[in-house]
């Protein structure tokens, strides 16, 4: 290892592990001791990452408050040193961290709030793509519909929540007092996506969530309707399927259709 590489390793350890060995290779300035000057880097490291996390998780920050959020952020920073050159992706593992780490894992609403914010952030800058239009669908003759398969927009994602995190999110977004954390009897099935440039989410009924999940995995429309028939009135299944499809297309949730030729 070169001396330069060794020195960089020590400098980094000085910041990440508060190891002072590097101080022996630094100079005091005319007005200040090297310990104080090196501390600028130590402080800036965690301050910058906490700030980045506050920016990515604005509503979780609002929910927890400065002190609790920063304490949580510093625990995450300590356990997840940044491995990506772009700060944008630093908080990516936060929902998993909160789901699995004490004391946060005892309060699942926190990890679910983080997961919802992450999903919205990911939708915000997800890949651009043309969206499927109703006009394009009109080109398929009715007898081909059973074979149609759909491609979700790259920004679309599903999230199942066991808590009322989405209700808390909505309250925080409106700067209202959020309700007490709680767990509804049924899981909250969310669909998150970007319409034009705006990230959105909405709750899905169990039937629509099932159809979305299956459609997103490439199941053709005819089979989707058969599956819908097991959820509710079998005679209305095709109409319900067509209705869901219509709403997805008008919301910009689908990027393409194939298999109808």
């Amino acid at each position: 290892m070169s001396d330069f590489a060794r020195q960089q390793g020590e400098f980094q350890r000085g910041i990440l592990a508060s190891d002072d060995s590097v101080l022996a290779e630094l100079l005091d300035s005319p007005k200040e001791k090297r310990e104080t000057l090196f501390a600028v880097y130590r402080h800036a490291y965690s301050a910058r990452l906490v700030e980045a996390m506050r920016s990515e998780h604005e509503l979780l920050h609002a929910y927890l408050g400065d002190e609790a959020f920063d304490q949580m952020a510093r625990a995450y920073i300590a356990s997840h040193p940044s491995q990506n050159a772009n700060l944008r992706w630093f908080s990516t593992a936060l929902p998993d961290f909160l789901r699995s780490t004490k004391p946060y894992r005892g309060h699942p609403v926190i990890s679910e709030l983080a997961a919802l914010e992450k999903a919205l952030n990911d939708a915000f800058d997800a890949q651009d793509c043309e969206v499927l239009t109703l006009a394009a669908m009109a080109g398929f003759v009715p007898e081909r519909w059973n074979d149609l398969r759909f491609r979700p927009h790259p920004s679309a994602a599903r999230l199942d929540l066991s808590t009322n995190a989405s209700t808390i999110w909505l309250a925080l977004k409106s700067e209202e007092t959020p309700p007490e954390a709680g767990a509804p009897a049924e899981p909250c099935r969310l669909l998150i996506w970007r319409q034009d440039v705006t990230p959105m989410f909405r709750e899905l009924a169990p039937e629509e969530a099932m159809m979305w999940d299956e459609a997103a995995s490439g199941i053709p429309f005819g089979v989707l309707c058969s599956m819908l028939a097991t959820y509710d009135d079998p005679d209305g299944a095709a109409a319900r399927g067509a209705g869901y499809l219509h709403s997805w297309i008008t919301a910009g949730l689908l990027a393409g259709v194939f298999g109808g030729d």
């Binding site: 330069f4 100079l27 700060l87």
Partner: protein, 303 residues
């Protein structure tokens, strides 16, 4: 002991030389501003008197969405320069080719007038500290950075522009000054230089040397951009926070830089406490006015 005291005599500036592959010196763009999301609407819906914009590359190294859509509209109306913070050109870690590929992809899309980053490193051993960390100014470090700049320039297919960073510590094993290091780096690798006036002011104060010595030590023909920014004064040292208006000392150093380097593309760089656009336009106007005053021939009035 201070590194600058090791220099007995100011060295003459290296002779002008041809950049690699005959790359021409980038055009003078005028007086610009760092593009920040807070000002998107005002810029797109108005016609602010700003000659060009510098964008933080990483903010647009994304799959898609609004930031890239806005940038597309900005670049239709203004010259754009890409300024990165994660190139880590002086790192001894293996080069991050995934980062370089993303940077190249963005450059193909944006077609910036040039691509800049900093003479610094941001991490080793697979970690990123997201800070502009200092290096020892040694021959070993110089050889390493020259090689890295050459590699990056080959990958991107164009010379890059490197900026001096604000530093808080100096290494006892430095063998040359920062300006000697930058001069040699530019001479050997063909990279251009971004002279951050505020960073020179900050580092000069922190390390106790004359900022004019830095200024005189940089080859005038290699500087293609100025950054002007604010900082936080801590009494015994200055922290480069880029979150304050530009102070009078930095304006004075800017005037001195104009006298030394001549007409150079200049921009106001504010990274935090982002004020309303009109407040920054006042600073942009001042960069323009000072340049007009300093660079106009004696006796001639500038309107």
């Amino acid at each position: 002991m201070n590194v600058s005291t090791k220099i007995r005599d100011p060295r003459p500036s290296p002779a002008p030389h041809a950049p690699p592959d005959g790359a021409a010196r980038p055009d003078f763009l005028g007086f610009g501003l760092g593009l920040r999301a807070q000002h998107y609407d005002e810029i797109l819906n108005g016609n602010p008197p700003i000659d060009w914009f510098e964008v933080i590359s990483e903010n647009y190294m994304l799959p898609g969405g609004q930031p890239l859509a806005v940038l597309e509209r900005i670049r239709e109306r203004y010259p754009v320069v890409m300024h990165g913070v994660s190139l880590s050109i002086a790192s001894t870690a293996p080069p991050d080719f995934e980062y370089l590929r993303q940077l190249r992809d963005l450059a193909r899309r944006v077609e910036p007038k040039w691509i800049s980053d900093h003479l610094c490193w941001t991490g080793v051993h697979g970690k990123n500290l997201h800070d502009l960390l200092p290096i020892p100014f040694t021959k070993e470090a110089l050889d390493h950075v020259v090689g890295r700049v050459q590699l990056v320039q080959e990958f991107l297919g164009r010379p890059i522009v490197l900026e001096n960073v604000s530093t808080y510590v100096q290494f006892s094993n430095s063998e040359m000054t920062e300006w000697e290091f930058l001069s040699e780096l530019s001479r050997r690798s063909g990279c251009w230089l971004l002279f951050d006036v505020n960073n020179v002011y900050v580092s000069a104060f922190n390390h106790g040397y004359d900022p004019l010595a830095f200024l005189q030590g940089i080859p005038a023909d290699r500087v293609v951009q100025f950054h002007i920014a604010g900082h936080s004064h801590m009494g015994t040292h200055i922290i480069d926070t880029h979150d304050h208006p530009v102070c009078e000392d930095v304006w004075e150093l800017y005037a001195a830089a104009l006298r030394r380097f001549g007409q150079v593309s200049t921009m106001i760089e504010r990274d935090d406490n982002i004020p309303p656009l009109e407040e920054l336009i006042v600073e942009v106007d001042r960069t323009r006015a000072i340049a007009a005053k300093v660079l106009s021939p004696p006796g001639r009035h500038v309107g």
